[in-house]
């Protein structure tokens, strides 16, 4: 029991942190700075506990006498936990300036972030459909509230309503799917479902397939795949910068945590059923996302559109997975890490600039940026190159693995389309680099502000480069090799 508690401790710490922050935020003595620090403090403790307890527990169920088989602890979940914690931490640290620059932030913001981290962690541990649903809703509800945090802003409120209504509706599909699966299997535990699938592999399982397809709808909605994408650009635009960053990087990863678990383990034998559907959806997502991203004037909206495209790349690997590619699952993990690093960095710089001014940040606002802030412009270029998949950045390797996995599973045309879309993406990412560097500005050069936000962004930029060129010659520092090893180990703990 004691060991079990220790293993659940990271999650517990996050909940305690969230509750503490809720109480503290009522006191006038705690400024935003301090509350932010407290939130980070809880995240760090949780991170430390995670690192200590990592590794030596393959597939342990938590509190079996109390919860049955509803929460599992394996390498897969702990790697995702690590990413959520780090993601939340980075979000809080990078946006420190932004919180102070906007008057509408107050203490509950940090509490809500921690609650959503808790939801995501539970989601990655969930080994039972109802638990997964509850975890998903805990995370989503916090995010809904956070999206509409700027109450007096019409765009923000509109984004919140849009996301809330659509999100709740698709959430209902999850429950519907769960019911149907329960009807077929007689249980909602993933273990039971997996056994059922294996036993009945050659028999009619239409109820289960319909049920799991409904669950897929929810997942596709949350990652913004076309045709469930209509909310993405508006919500990303309406949400405050810190939250856009949090959604684009961390929350999206959380969805893939549950998607991979369901898809790989439980529906493993029947996942070839979806491959054609997935292929169609992938093609739509890639093309639709590019179309949305090309036409934007605001950089934030461009990144939102491009995040759909990145979901599309991930879907390529998902459908290769269904067709029996061995590299696809590690490729997804690697790509998630790569996308996480580069998008956090890119949004981080946007939010840093936003904290200095009230601009909307169109492409035109970036004219002469390289002259005003040479280091910031350099880092932004690095993140754009990585998102575009330019070699010598981690984004290139991410795409490389995704496309080779598609080739491996025989989806040559899909890989070709992916390459074409990557080519199109060069246009809208390089446009930003071009705007930053090719125009002169009259404003004097500003010195590089050394504070917590900028240091963290700089570290991200270094990681992005290191992830692309780092060699296996230098031990102890995780290079692309290390990332791939982690990804492989994670996946192997699942199967």
């Amino acid at each position: 029991m004691m060991i079990q508690f220790l293993l659940a401790l990271p999650m517990v710490i996050i909940v305690i942190g969230a509750l503490t922050l809720m109480l503290l935020s009522q006191s006038k003595r705690f400024t935003l700075d301090r509350l932010n620090l407290i939130a980070v403090f809880f995240l760090v403790i949780s991170l430390v506990v995670q690192l200590i307890t990592m590794g030596d527990h393959k597939s342990t169920f938590l509190f079996t006498d109390l919860l049955g088989h509803s929460l599992i602890l394996d390498d897969f979940a702990s790697i995702f936990d690590l990413m959520f914690t780090v993601g939340a931490m980075l979000t809080l640290l990078i946006n420190n300036d932004y919180f102070k620059s906007r008057s509408y932030f107050n203490g509950e913001y940090f509490a809500l972030i921690l609650f959503s981290v808790f939801g995501m962690m539970m989601l990655s541990h969930a080994h039972e459909l109802v638990t997964a649903f509850i975890a998903l809703e805990i995370a989503s509800l916090s995010i809904y509230a956070l999206v509409g945090y700027h109450k007096n802003n019409k765009v923000s409120s509109e984004a919140m309503m849009k996301y809330l209504v659509l999100g709740s509706m698709t959430g209902a599909f999850f429950i519907l799917g769960t019911t149907l699966i329960y009807g077929a299997v007689g249980s909602t535990s993933l273990t039971e479902i997996a056994t059922y699938v294996i036993i009945n592999e050659h028999q009619d399982m239409s109820l289960l397939i319909i049920g799991s397809s409904f669950i897929m709808i929810t997942i596709m909605f949350k990652i913004g795949a076309v045709p469930f994408h209509s909310w993405v650009v508006d919500v990303y635009h309406g949400a405050p910068y810190p939250l856009t960053m949090f959604m684009a990087s961390t929350f999206k990863i959380a969805i893939f945590a549950i998607a991979l678990r369901l898809y790989l383990v439980n529906f493993g034998p029947i996942n070839s059923f979806w491959s054609e559907l997935l292929q169609i959806m992938t093609i739509l997502t890639l093309i639709g996302g590019s179309w949305l991203a090309i036409n934007q004037k605001l950089v934030k909206r461009m990144l939102a559109g491009s995040s759909i495209v990145h979901s599309g790349y991930l879907l390529i690997a998902m459908s290769s997975l269904g067709l029996g590619s061995e590299m696809a699952a590690p490729a997804i993990m690697f790509y998630l890490i790569a996308y996480f690093l580069s998008s956090v960095g890119a949004f981080g710089i946007l939010s840093f600039i936003a904290s200095q001014s009230k601009r909307q940040m169109t492409y035109d606002d970036f004219k002469g940026f390289a002259q005003k802030r040479p280091y910031m412009a350099l880092m932004m270029s690095i993140f754009m190159l990585s998102l575009a998949g330019f070699p010598s950045t981690i984004g290139f390797l991410g795409k490389f693995y995704i496309f080779t996995s598609a080739i491996e599973s025989g989806q040559i045309l899909l890989a070709g389309l992916g390459i074409l879309i990557a080519f199109i993406s060069v246009y809208y990412y390089f446009k930003l680099i071009a705007v930053m560097y090719f125009y002169t500005s009259d404003a004097p050069q500003k010195i590089f502000p050394v504070n917590i936000s900028t240091i963290v962004i700089a570290i991200m930029a270094l990681l992005v480069i290191w992830g692309g060129i780092g060699t296996s010659l230098i031990p102890f520092i995780p290079s692309p090799d290390g990332f791939i090893d982690i990804a492989k180990r994670t996946i192997s703990s699942l199967i």
């Binding site: 496309f403 080779t404 080739i407 890989a415 390459i419 246009y427 390089f430 071009a434 090799d481």
Partner: protein, 492 residues
């Protein structure tokens, strides 16, 4: 140290740039650092060339694992082909830095150092992913230099060049990934090293598609006719150092790519493509020459002339006989020196007269004799003046063309004629005639003459004493050609 000499040659400029950037060097220090890195590289390359064994195949090889999980390795080495281009790069950098002597915008210098690392790395890589990395990254400095320091519609043109070349690179990336996967499928481990991948055989259909992926990238880079729309605008609006590198080095890398990776991986399929490419090259020869005759902007005119010569090199490459091949390799070097010279001269001209339009120039000869001499010398060596390297090379290619087919020979020979036509007509209009320009006609300074002299000497040396240079590449060139002819012969 000498085990890693190629790595030092590749990365010295990059590390110099990073170091200078970190200490936020003043402009004077930056200039000294850049100059130092280029001269040090030149010495190292000279050392490599001195100890290079003409009979020895791939030399100074370094092979270290890079990303083990997918078999990418840091694999560099030098043979006769890369040595020639390596020498070109390192010989051209110091004169360019002397040219940039008065340039006080820091970004210029950083970009040039990064560019040197990019092109050198691309020439020396023997691993396909490593090659792809350098091939793409060498675009970035060019992109920034055209966009930031260029003239005319530079922002638009720089976006155009990057999009077109990346389209090519992406298709090459696809082929690389596919080949890598096929290797994994047959052997069981990942590798992207050229020697490993060249052992693979593909069925005809696959091979044709894969070759197309590579050829698209190289055809855009060269550029063959039909893939050339980026060329004239980009050359026209880029600053002089960038245009020198583009025409003297980067265009040659397209040829190098076909030579190394095309013939290395798909020699049999290239036979299938040979008629198409020979046709394109022949069309290119004439089309570019005609465009050069009608062009009024000097930069664009020599852009077309450069395209015409590169078509000639590509033609020689696909004729696969020893005369044409030696000629092609020789022309790579000779044209690099000549085009570097002429683009530097055009840059100097722009500094003096603030225009490069032929119609706005005239009467230079009487006021600035030294300038006239150098300008005319480089222009004529582009046209293949006897006594310069270009003449030897073009003659070899024409002989090779006549050996292959009489009519190809006739068409090829017209390049020399048409080049004479546009060069002489241009010289007449720019250097002679009435001076209709009020600008002061300043003659070349000592610094400028020092910068141009090495190029003149090299052009004359390659022209008068070809026997001095051919031994470096002749034996291996012959050997690899025999190998390819044998493979093609088996096919027939």
């Amino acid at each position: 140290m000498m085990d890693n000499i190629l790595s030092i040659i590749i990365f010295l400029p990059l590390f110099m740039a990073i170091f200078l950037g970190l200490i936020r060097a003043e402009i004077t220090l930056l200039k000294i650092g850049a100059m130092f890195s280029s001269i040090a590289t030149l010495f190292l390359v000279a050392w490599t060339a001195f100890y290079f064994d003409p009979e020895g195949g791939m030399q100074f090889v370094e092979n270290a694992p890079w990303i083990k999980n997918s078999g990418m390795s840091y694999f560099v080495g030098v043979d006769y082909l890369s040595l020639v281009i390596l020498l070109l790069i390192s010989l051209l950098m110091p004169p360019l830095y002397i040219y940039m002597y008065h340039e006080n915008r820091k970004g210029y210098w950083y970009n040039m150092m990064l560019l040197q690392t990019g092109v050198t790395g691309a020439v020396l890589s023997l691993d396909l992913v490593l090659f792809y990395l350098f091939w793409e990254t060498m675009l970035l400095p060019i992109f920034v230099m055209i966009g930031k320091y260029g003239n005319g519609l530079h922002q638009y043109n720089s976006m155009k060049i990057i999009l077109m070349t990346i389209l090519g690179s992406m298709s090459m990336l696809f082929s690389i990934m596919y080949i890598g996967y096929v290797y994994f499928n047959t052997v069981g481990t990942w590798s992207f090293a050229l020697i490993d991948l060249s052992t693979l055989t593909f069925n005809a259909q696959t091979s044709i598609w894969l070759t197309a992926g590579f050829l698209l990238a190289f055809a855009i880079k060269i550029p063959l006719v039909g893939f050339h729309t980026w060329m004239a605008p980009a050359y026209g609006s880029s600053p002089t150092p960038a245009v020198v590198i583009m025409s003297a080095i980067m265009a040659k890398l397209g040829i190098y790519g076909i030579w190394r990776f095309g013939f290395g991986l798909f020699e049999t399929t290239l036979v299938y493509y040979a008629p198409t490419i020979i046709t394109l090259a022949l069309i290119g020869l004439l089309y570019y020459a005609i465009r050069a005759i009608t062009e009024d902007n000097l930069r664009k005119m020599f852009a077309y002339s450069s395209g015409s010569h590169l078509s000639l090199i590509a033609l020689g490459l696909f004729l696969t006989n020893i005369y044409a091949w030696s000629g092609s390799l020789y022309l790579i070097a000779a044209h690099a020196f000549a085009s570097a010279g002429i683009f530097i001269m055009i840059g100097l001209m722009y500094k003096r007269f603030k225009t490069v339009q032929i119609s706005a120039l005239g009467g230079i000869a009487s006021k600035a004799p030294k300038f006239t001499f150098f300008f005319a010398f480089f222009a004529l060596s582009i046209a293949g003046l006897p006594g310069t390297g270009g003449f030897v090379a073009e003659l070899l290619i024409i002989i090779g063309a006549f050996k292959a087919n009489f009519w190809i020979g006739v068409l090829t020979a017209t390049t020399m004629l048409s080049a004479m036509l546009y060069i002489f007509w241009m010289l007449q209009r720019t250097l002679f005639g009435i001076s209709n320009n009020d600008a002061h006609y300043e003659d070349l300074s000592i610094r400028e003459i020092i910068m141009l002299l090495p190029l003149v000497i090299l052009l004359l040396a390659t022209g008068i004493m070809p026997s001095l240079f051919t031994p470096i590449f002749e034996p291996q060139l012959n050997a690899s050609l025999q190998e390819i002819i044998r493979v093609i012969g088996d096919l027939k």
